[in-house]
Amino acid sequence: MNIIILVKLVPDLVEELIIDTSGVALDTAWLRLIINEFDDHAIEQGILLKERSGGVVTVVAPDIEGIDDVLFTAAAKGADRLIKIKGDFGGVNNHALARAFSTAVKELQPDLVLTGVQANNDLDGSVGPLLAGCLEMPYIGYLSGVSVSEGKSKVRKEYPGGLIAEMDVTLPAVFGIQAAEQPPRYVAVSKVRQMMKTSTIEEQTVSGVDMVGGPKIGRMFQAQTGQRATMLSGSPEEIATRLVVIFKEHGVL
């Protein structure tokens, strides 16, 4: 079973997000990039599949600052191969990323490609289905359960209200992971550091970066806080008293 996991980095929402001087992109000065949470789940799901049914797990990611640590962490969890795609990926959109991935992925001849169902900076669709389009593979997203057998896979797809649809897919296919079957495991820092010494990250270069298919952004701005809530202040007791009044007004008390 040849499993490939695609990983990208996204802005850390803990930090303050500011628009840069161009007005169409985020200011990178204070921006921290972290692994896309859903890609982290994809890694976990991939490792779980390997532990259950055997196989080889390859993690592929674009070469941007901070990616090495992410790849070595994946290796510490059990990934077998790490591939970094080199190219000019600053400010690139998902169409370009998907195209860059597709050459590498095609060569690897996967049975299964896993990636996060979405990322917080997606503006032109998510990498998963775009890649599926490039490779002409089927795509299903919002998965919270994956099992594989010869040439096919059974998946659990999430719908609103907690409804699940169980579907059969012929492999090879691309899956968009919403949640792994267990939360991403912890990896001790020393294990990651050990991986840095013992594992290698393979590099592949991609010729150009093709952003065709993404929208052109005219203006980027911070979400309006127009109708901001009426803020209550004071001691906890004072705030609680105000809230009790509000509850009474609504006939709840």
């Binding site: 609103p160 911070q222 906890p236 809230l243």
Partner: protein
Amino acid sequence: MNQDIYVVIEHLRGQLAEISFVMLAGARELAKGLGVDVVAVMLGHKAQGLAGNPSPGSLQCLAADKVLSFDHPALADFTSDAYQIVLTDLIRKDQPRAVLFGSTSIGTDIASLISIKLGLPMVSSCRSFSAGGKFVSQICGGKIMAEGDLPGPTALVTMVPGGYKAEQGQSTQPPAITEVEVPELESLRVTLVRYIEPESGDVDITKEAVLVSVGRGIQNQDNIVLAEELAHALGGSVSGSRPVIDQGWLATSRLVGKSGKSVKPKIYLALGISGAPEHAEAITDSDTIVAINTDPAAPIFNIAKYGAEIDLFDLVEVLTAQVKAAKGG
């Protein structure tokens, strides 16, 4: 080739999803500016009735100028392979100005595939359209907005709720339905096996008048009892956002959010919830949202009516005591 705005209607097990109406509302706004039609695209099997029954005065019909219906057993339930084959075919032939999909488990499975297959530009997370037919999308947990010209020749757009009310996409008149021939649907790679109902759980949070909802800020399972006591005192129930359910601290039946339930209580008390779009879209119908969060920049404060920048652990027990006193006294 036409300049119409197509909307891919979403339905699940005989029920129209609310996003369909939101998309129609957006489509109407776009179409008005361009002076073109809104075309609803419905894939299904014997599901035409969903387009709406003529019932004077009742708003339950699709507010579209016409409906293109694709009827085939393989389309009875959504599967990404079958749907993308049909839609790719349609879009290639018709080349409309824009096709709107839901940014959902259904829409996101197909929109991007079609974008690559047909080489058409795509915009996702679109919340609304502004004057001049520009798209306005939200990213980064709802904190950042991006605006731009609607790309051509055919823009594929996935839409999120929040920009329009469902009523704006509904009408009293059922639109005219045209049956369209469905292309070959052989050797589909994705098939539906079955649906699995969610555990009913002890409580139906969609019917509660008061919800005390907890997010990551509750920190661990032991602290949930604080929310339960407050909920009990208020005669309501406890619900939670995605991180809380993922950790297993609350049952799935208590999930409020995009993949959980949409709720409309009188009071929605959000404790330690940041208010990311996936959660926000599920609570906008509440009468009053009260948000408690130590982060002043939390998006929840933009949809809440009242807020307090205070640690929930400082407030909850005090509030529970005062509520009990108010009831008992």
